[in-house]
Amino acid sequence: MPTTERVLSDPIRTAIQAYYPRYPNRRAVLLPALHVVHEHLGHVPQQAVVEIAEMLELAPADVLDTLSFYGFFKQVEPMGRLRVWVCRSISCAACGGEDLLEYLCRRLGIRPGETTADGRVTLEFAECLGACEHAPAMLAGDTLYKKLTKEKIDDFLASLPS
C-alpha cells in the first residue's frame, strides 16, 4: 500500500527543479526526475510516482506508464548499494560472458534482477554495454571491468566494502 508520508525530500525536489529550465515543458523533465529519485531512493516507489506527477503536472498513471517502460528503474524494492551489470550480448557472450554471469550468480547466491540479502549488490544482465572491444565486460557502478575473468570477479567481490 502506498504510504501518505512524503518521500521526495527537499533536496530531491530541488534537484528535479534544476532541470525545468532545460525543457519547454514539464513532461520532458520526467526521465531526469525518475533518475534523480532512483539515485536517491534506490527505486521509484508508488508514492514517489504520485509526488513526481504533482510536480510535473501529470497524472500518476502517466508517470507510471513511462516509468514501467524503462527496465532501468526499480519499482518494488530498493537496489543494493552497488548495481552490477554483466553483458550477455553477442560479442561478450562469444567471449564467455554468459558463463561469467552464471559464475557471479553462484558466488552471490542470487539471480539477475535480485539483490543480495545484505543489500550490498544488485546483479543485472545487460543487453550490450557498448564495450564490445573489451569483451567480456561488466559495469559495476561507474566502473567498467574489461576482459572479465573468474579471477577478476573473485578480486572484485573481495574488494567490495562490507
Binding site: 523533465v29 551489470w85 550490450c128 557498448g130 564495450a131 564490445c132 561507474d142
Partner: protein, 450 residues
C-alpha cells in the same frame, strides 16, 4: 590503406585528449570561429550536401538532404537531437569519441545546430556510458565558460545551449522518433512517419536527429572541404544516378574472436577481410572465421567466403545483409555455434522490442521460444521454416511494423538460416532423433516435466 592518416581519431592518443586546452592546442574550435564568420547556415548545408555525407548511425541517409527538409518559413524553435544512444550489439565508436574527444563532438554539434538554426540541442546519451557522461558534462561547462556555448557565440548573433539527456536502458531509443518520444518524457514508442522529424519532431517542432559520428564528420568537412571528403571512400555508381556513394572516413569497431579487438578509422569501403586481418590481428589463435556480422547485430551475418566485400554502404547488401549498419564488425570463429548465435540475437531483439507493433512483439518472442527448444534438444526441422516465416513477416520491409527494429531482428534469422542451415539441421537431428520430423510442437508442460 596503410598510409591513411586518421582524422576522427586524430586526437585520442594525446595526453588529456578530453580537455579543452589540448583540443584547442590541436586547432580545436578554429573551424567554428571561421564558419560563423564566413558562412550562412544555408551555405553550411550546401557544403554538407556537396560532400554526400551519409549518416553514420545505421541507415546511411544523406545528412545534407535531411537538413534541407527543415521548413524554411517555420517560426521555430528548431531542435537538434544528438543520437548517442549507441546500443547496437557490436557498436562502440560513439562511446570512444565521447570519452576521449568530447570537444570534437561538441564542435560538430555547434556547427550542425548553426546550419539547422537550432538554439537547443539534446544529447540523448545511453545510461551505460558513465565516463562519457562525465566527460561531456565537463566539456560543456568548459565551452560555456569560453563562450563557445550560450548567448551570442563568439560575438555572433547565434545562440545555443546543449543538454545531456540520459536514457534508461532501452535500445529502441536509438530509433529517431523513439528517441524523441523518450525525450518528451514518454515511453519510447516510435512514431508513424510521415511526418518526419524535420517537419514535426521534438515538441512538435522541426527537429534534426543525427548520430555522434555524423556530426564529427560535419566538422571535418567544414574544416577541409567537400572535395577532401569526396577524395576518400567508394565513389557513387556511375550507372545509378541516385547512388550517393560512400565517401569519407569511417570508424570501424571490431570485436569477437580476433587478436586485437578495437576501434579503427579507415576510408569507407575497406574490404572486411583486410579489416580483420590487417587491423585486428586476424582470428584468435590462428583459427578460421565462421561467421562475421558486418555492421552491428541487426545487419545479419556473412560467411568466411563473403569477407572480400567492401565495408561501404552497399557492400554488405551484395551478400544479403541489411547494410553497413553501424560498422560494428563482430567476428565469430569456427568453434562458435550458430545456434547459440541466433538464440543470442533473437533474445536481444525480443528483450528490446518496445511492444508497440504486434508482429514484432509476438514474433521476436516466438523466435526465442523456438530457439530455446532447439537448444534444449527438442527442435523440429519445421521450426526452421517457421523461424523464416516469422522473419519474412516482421518489419518495415514487409510493411508490418512502424520502425526497423523488427527488420533488425529478422535479418540475423534470415541470413543465419540461409547460410548455416546445415548446422541447424544436423543439430536438430542429432539432439532430437525421435522427434525432429514432428509437425506439432510438444505440449508446453512436457518441457517443464522433462
Amino acid at each position: 590503406m596503410a598510409d591513411y592518416e586518421p582524422v576522427l581519431l586524430a586526437n585520442i592518443h594525446k595526453e588529456g585528449s578530453h580537455r579543452l586546452a589540448v583540443y584547442e592546442a590541436g586547432g580545436g574550435y578554429r573551424t567554428l570561429r571561421r564558419v560563423l564568420q564566413e558562412r550562412s547556415p544555408a551555405g553550411v548545408i550546401e557544403v554538407i550536401r556537396a560532400s554526400n555525407l551519409r549518416g553514420r548511425g545505421g541507415a546511411g541517409f544523406p545528412t545534407g538532404l535531411k537538413w534541407s527538409f527543415l521548413p524554411a518559413d517555420h517560426p521555430g524553435p528548431f531542435y537538434m537531437c544528438v543520437n548517442a544512444d549507441e546500443s547496437e550489439p557490436g557498436t562502440f565508436c560513439n562511446r570512444v569519441q565521447m570519452e576521449l574527444d568530447p570537444h570534437q563532438v561538441i564542435e560538430g554539434i555547434i556547427l550542425s545546430c548553426y546550419a539547422t538554426r537550432a538554439n537547443t540541442a539534446y544529447i540523448y546519451l545511453r545510461y551505460e556510458y558513465p565516463l562519457a557522461l562525465e566527460r561531456l558534462e565537463t566539456a560543456l561547462a568548459e565551452c560555456r565558460d569560453k563562450g563557445y556555448l550560450g548567448k551570442n557565440i563568439l560575438g555572433h548573433d547565434f545562440s545555443l545551449d546543449i543538454h545531456v539527456h540520459r536514457g534508461a536502458g532501452a535500445y529502441i531509443c536509438g530509433e529517431e522518433t523513439g528517441l524523441i518520444e523518450s525525450l518528451e518524457g514518454k515511453r519510447a514508442w516510435p512514431r508513424i512517419k510521415p511526418p518526419f522529424p524535420a517537419v514535426e519532431g521534438l515538441f512538435r517542432k522541426p527537429t534534426v536527429v543525427n548520430n555522434v559520428e555524423t556530426l564529427t564528420c560535419v566538422l571535418h568537412i567544414l574544416d577541409r572541404g567537400a572535395d577532401w571528403f569526396k577524395s576518400i571512400g567508394t565513389p557513387s555508381d556511375p550507372k545509378n544516378p541516385r547512388d550517393p556513394g560512400s565517401y569519407g572516413p569511417k570508424l570501424y569497431g571490431i570485436s569477437g574472436h580476433v587478436e586485437r579487438p578495437g576501434l579503427v578509422e579507415l576510408p569507407l569501403g575497406v574490404p572486411c577481410r583486410e579489416l580483420i586481418e590487417e587491423h585486428a590481428g586476424g582470428l584468435r589463435q590462428g583459427r578460421r572465421a565462421k561467421a562475421v556480422v558486418p555492421g552491428g547485430l541487426s545487419t545479419g551475418v556473412m560467411t568466411e567466403s563473403e569477407l572480400d566485400i567492401p565495408l561501404d554502404f552497399s557492400g554488405p547488401l551484395r551478400v544479403g545483409c541489411l547494410g553497413l549498419g553501424t560498422a560494428g564488425v563482430i567476428v565469430l570463429d569456427e568453434t562458435y555455434s550458430m545456434i547459440d548465435f541466433l538464440h543470442n540475437s533473437c533474445r536481444f531483439f525480443a528483450h528490446e522490442s518496445c511492444g508497440q507493433c504486434t508482429p514484432c512483439r509476438e514474433g521476436t518472442h516466438w523466435a526465442v521460444a523456438m530457439l530455446q527448444r532447439i537448444k534444449a534438444g527438442r527442435g523440429r526441422l519445421k521450426d526452421l521454416d517457421l523461424l523464416l516465416e516469422i522473419a519474412d513477416n516482421i518489419g518495415i520491409i514487409p510493411g508490418t511494423t512502424i520502425c526497423g527494429l523488427a527488420d533488425g531482428a529478422a535479418w540475423p534469422i534470415k541470413t543465419t538460416l540461409r547460410k548455416f542451415r546445415e548446422e541447424f539441421v544436423d543439430h536438430i537431428k542429432q539432439t532430437n532423433p525421435g522427434g525432429y520430423t514432428a509437425q506439432s510442437p510438444p505440449p508446453a508442460m512436457a518441457l517443464v516435466h522433462k
